[in-house]
């Protein structure tokens, strides 16, 4: 009875904190639910499509050319092609699912922090209740009920919110792999209810530590007037053991990593590493209070400018009560570190496209079809004679993609680009040789000089691998980028080998203009108009692929946008609670002559400081995180992704963190400036 009454009163009196906690649970739950629903639907759609479900190709009859690697030296070291692309996307899915936990984590941080502060603030009230005869069970019951209500309301709001959010995401073309489009949505209700229940449980877990602490409080000591307490409060500091455990664990894992890498499949290895990264992030949060105090104090002295009083008060607050700001700093750090590492990864992937474009697509133009259109030589009669054309056959079905081209046409086109390397490689292709793209060579475990046997339905031939390169032979395909880059190129003289599975020469064209900058639009006009015939310059292909990279990762951006929103809620909540806790100090400053705008500026400064420190730590953490994600990407995708940090990313990360934190500080700053000082300063 008394429990419900007080719990309701408490929740209503701390409205802002209550709303923030509910939002923490709701947005965290909604993010995970949306990702869950999107991923279930992505899988459902992809399972029905041949290009995205490798299992569908497992038929008894031979459906594509057989590729039998014949390495000159060493054992056969091929990869399972049926799993290859599939695994890439499994990794991406796992990353997205894990990424969605960031919102859950930040939401939980808000709940844990709010409950800790709100309960700490009520310790006097608790002591009073205890002195009036309330039992420990009754006291705990009040707080458990509060947490339960916050958790249940938050989980219900999150559950309900996830439905329209999933619809909106699917309508915007967002999936967890970027490969398919979700039509109608099927919701995994049972999983979503489970997630929402865990969300509700978070609030219950969050209430345990502060309640345990408050039940141990000394009633007489707590009921003494605050000004009589002369005990100097020491902020909690990270123990030496904790400081040793983290680097020790890192060292230990570093030693064990090669072993795990060898014995575990890529996906399991990725999940292991991602799990460890999540644990490391949580571990780092332990260090944030100390970092906030020490680094924050240094930065505060060096960086914070503005009114003298505000500056002094902020620096002192960071030094003495930095642990209180650590929750916000930790949240900002977590969110922006993830954002930075994500953008380091997408930047690296885009740079990979650019580097690939420099070798394989720029100065070329491509004509290919979605519906197996084959252009005969007669159809090319209208083309400008100066333009060189290589007619490629269709590709044999995935995964053993082989295509043929006349070696003389390939050489002419290569020459027309003016690239010596491409010309030299094209000159090597003849009826006894094969050129492998780097991804195909990796899959087959072959290097230049090895042999490859192509086995058709009734004949086979062994060809010499004369080049492993992406410089010649690339033709875009409809489907995943990675599949397009995995091919073997043979001379048209061997077309009979792949003929049962591939369309004739003319299924795709590669064009190059030796005169330099070609007007491809004008050139394309001379080609016949056919249904779904794609005519594309190399530069246009590159731009499209970069766009696709952005689209593939947009789901991460959506997750992190929700997490960022949560971080802002967390900062606002922390500042509102801090303003409430410091209302006497703020009132005193007003009494001493600080104007309302000075108070407001001071709070905004404090917000900016949280952003600056959180953003700075995010850069420090985001760099190794980004480096690690690229290492994982290299392992699972075999793409040549290189770590590169555009300097503007550092400034954008810190700048965006500062802007976010300042925006979140606006409401608390206004609240502090508008507070009535007379009462606050008069009474203890």
């Amino acid at each position: 009875m008394i429990g419900n009454f007080l719990a309701r009163k408490n929740l209503l009196s701390d409205r802002f904190a209550t709303v923030c906690m509910v939002l923490g649970v709701a947005l965290g739950t909604a993010t995970v639910n949306v990702v869950l629903a999107l991923d279930s639907n992505t899988r459902r759609v992809e399972s029905t499509e041949w290009s995205t479900n490798p299992d569908l190709t497992a038929e008894s009859a031979q459906t594509t050319i057989g590729l039998i690697p014949q390495p000159k030296n060493g054992p056969l070291n091929t990869l399972d092609p049926t799993k290859e692309t599939h695994e890439d996307y499994q990794v991406m899915r796992s990353a997205i699912r894990l990424g969605s936990l960031s919102a859950f984590l930040v939401g939980a941080l808000i709940v844990f922090f709010s409950l800790a502060v709100v309960i700490e603030r009520r310790k006097r009230e608790v002591a009073l209740l205890r002195s009036l005869g309330a039992s420990r069970r009754q006291i705990a019951g009040v707080f458990v009920r509060e947490a339960l209500w916050v958790g249940i309301i938050g989980a219900i709001v999150g559950f309900v919110l996830s439905v329209p959010l999933t619809w909106m995401a699917a309508a915007a073309g967002i999936t967890t792999t970027g490969r398919s489009r979700i039509g109608w949505i099927w919701f995994p209700w049972r999983d979503m209810i489970a997630v929402s229940s865990i969300g509700a449980l978070t609030a219950l877990l969050g209430v345990i530590p502060p309640v345990r602490q408050i039940l141990r409080l000394d009633v007489t000591q707590t009921l003494r007037p605050g000004f009589l307490e002369s005990k100097h409060e020491r902020p909690p500091r990270t123990s030496g053991t904790t400081l040793i455990v983290l680097p020790f664990s890192l060292l230990l894992y570093g030693l064990m990593r090669p072993f795990f890498r060898e014995v575990l499949p890529s996906l399991a290895f990725f999940v292991l590493e991602a799990g460890l990264v999540v644990l490391a992030l949580l571990g780092l949060l332990v260090l944030v209070p100390d970092l906030t105090r020490f680094i924050g104090g240094l930065i505060g002295r060096a960086v914070v400018r503005g009114p003298r009083a505000a500056r002094l008060l902020i620096v002192r607050r960071v030094e003495k009560q930095g642990h209180e700001m650590a929750w916000s700093v930790g949240g900002v750090m977590l969110v922006f570190a993830l954002l930075l590492s994500l953008h380091i990864s997408t930047h690296a992937l885009k740079q990979e496209v650019v580097r690939f474009g420099e070798r394989a697509t720029r100065r070329y133009a491509f004509v290919y079809s979605q519906y197996d259109t084959v252009l005969s030589p007669a159809a090319l009669a209208g083309l400008d004679p100066a333009v060189k054309v290589a007619r490629f056959s269709g590709r044999t079905p995935w995964p053993n993609a082989v295509l043929a081209v006349r070696h003389d046409e390939l050489l002419e086109v290569a020459r027309a680009t003016g690239r010596e390397n491409a010309t030299a490689i094209a000159a090597k292709l003849d009826d006894k040789s094969v050129i492998l793209s780097t991804l195909m060579a990796r899959r087959l475990g072959l290097v230049e000089g090895d042999a490859l046997t192509l086995a058709s339905t009734d004949r086979s031939r062994t060809l010499q691998v004369v080049a492993v390169t992406d410089d010649v032979g690339f033709v875009p395909v409809i489907g995943p980028y990675r599949n397009g880059k995995t091919y073997a190129l043979i001379d048209a003289a061997n077309f009979d080998l792949i003929q049962p599975f591939a369309h004739d020469l003319g299924a795709a064209l590669v064009l190059a203009d030796p005169r330099g900058e070609a007007d491809w639009k004008a050139i394309f006009r001379a080609l016949p108009r056919r249904n779904a015939l794609i005519k594309q310059s190399g530069e246009a292909f590159e731009a499209l692929r970069i766009e696709e990279t952005d689209r593939d990762f947009v789901v991460f951006d959506v997750i992190l946008a929700l997490t960022t929103l949560l971080a802002a809620v967390g900062i606002a909540n922390q500042l509102v609670l801090a303003v409430h806790g410091r209302r006497r100090e703020i009132a005193l400053l007003r009494v001493l002559g600080m104007t309302a705008s000075q108070i407001q500026t001071m709070l905004l400064f404090e917000g900016a400081f949280v952003g600056l420190l959180g953003g700075g730590l995010a850069v420090v953490l985001g760099l190794p995180l980004g480096y690690g994600s690229l290492a994982a990407l290299r392992v699972v995708s075999a793409f040549d992704v290189r770590f590169e940090l555009p300097p503007e990313y550092v400034f954008i990360t810190i700048g965006a963190a500062v802007v976010l934190a300042m925006a979140a500080a606006l409401h608390p700053a206004r609240q502090a400036a508008a507070a009535r000082s007379a009462e606050s300063v008069h009474y203890e």
Binding site: F227, L228, S230, K231, H232, E233, P307, R308, A309, L312, L313, R316, R317, E319, K320, Q321, R584, E585, L588, L589, R590, V591, L592, G593, M594, T595, A596, S597, Q598, S677, A678, V681, H682, Y683, E684
Partner: protein
């Protein structure tokens, strides 16, 4: 000209039936160099009057002038600046900023006014209240009386024309209370500041130049005790007469 002049000030709190008239037409002048003690029962409106004089609140009616400036003609910003530059306040509860050392707390008025912090003046003020040796200590490392001495140093560091003290000895022991009152009297003599002190303690009030009594939101002018009449027994007698 009175440093503080209060004329016909009324103030109410709450709305409708819950509305309570705290001040019902208060008149009071405090001259330069004068220590005026205000006594009265709890709820009489003493602290409300002090807050109005500090410009922390605005009266419903009436006029308050500080050094000839009508507070009613100023907005919040104007009142804040006047308070910052001309008024020093001492509260019953020591009101120090917990993260700042004693010296930094005393330097705060300079910093808030965007002035070059006058460390020498702050140290002099701390020495004046006998806290020079504790200037690097945080409030949590000081006793209640010591905190109050630091807050007095802060109130006088910029030599304000008006000092408002709300039960300045209310939470310190008797000896420290006496020391604080002696100190405030000395400072007043040196600086010719005016001081309005709200107190419940007849002994403290007996050290004032004038004692006025508040009852039911007014200060009956005939009730004041002043000059050679002031002693503890006379104050007790007047309190009895007024039924306080």
């Amino acid at each position: 000209m009175a440093v503080l002049s209060v004329r016909g000030v009324t103030q109410s709190y709450g709305l409708g039936e819950a509305k309570i008239a705290v001040l019902r037409g208060v008149d009071l002048d405090v001259e330069a160099g004068e220590l005026c003690a205000v006594m009265g029962p709890s709820g009489a409106g003493k602290s409300t009057l002090l807050h109005l004089a500090a410009g922390l609140d605005v009266p419903d009616a009436g006029a308050i002038e500080v050094l000839g400036t009508k507070l009613g003609s100023l907005d919040d910003q104007g009142r804040t600046l006047l308070r910052r530059d001309r008024i020093g306040i001492v509260y019953q509860f020591f009101n120090l900023v917990s993260n700042l050392t004693a010296l930094e707390n005393v330097l705060l008025p300079f910093m808030i006014a965007e002035l070059e912090p006058d460390v020498a003046a702050a140290e002099r003020a701390l020495d004046r209240v006998g806290m020079g040796a504790r200037k690097k200590h945080l409030p949590a490392q000081l006793s209640g009386g010591e905190m109050q001495l630091v807050s007095i140093a802060r109130a006088i560091v910029r030599a304000p024309a008006l000092v408002l003290a709300d039960e300045p000895t209310g939470n310190v022991n008797v000896a420290t209370g006496r020391r604080i009152l002696t100190l405030l009297r000395e400072v007043l003599k040196e600086t010719r500041s005016a001081m309005m002190m709200v107190t419940h303690n007849p002994e403290d009030a007996a050290r004032a130049d004038r004692v006025v009594f508040m009852k039911d939101g007014v200060i009956p002018s005939e009730s004041a005790v002043l000059g050679p009449d002031i002693d503890v027994a006379r104050i007790h007698e007047r309190l009895r007469e007024l039924g306080i």
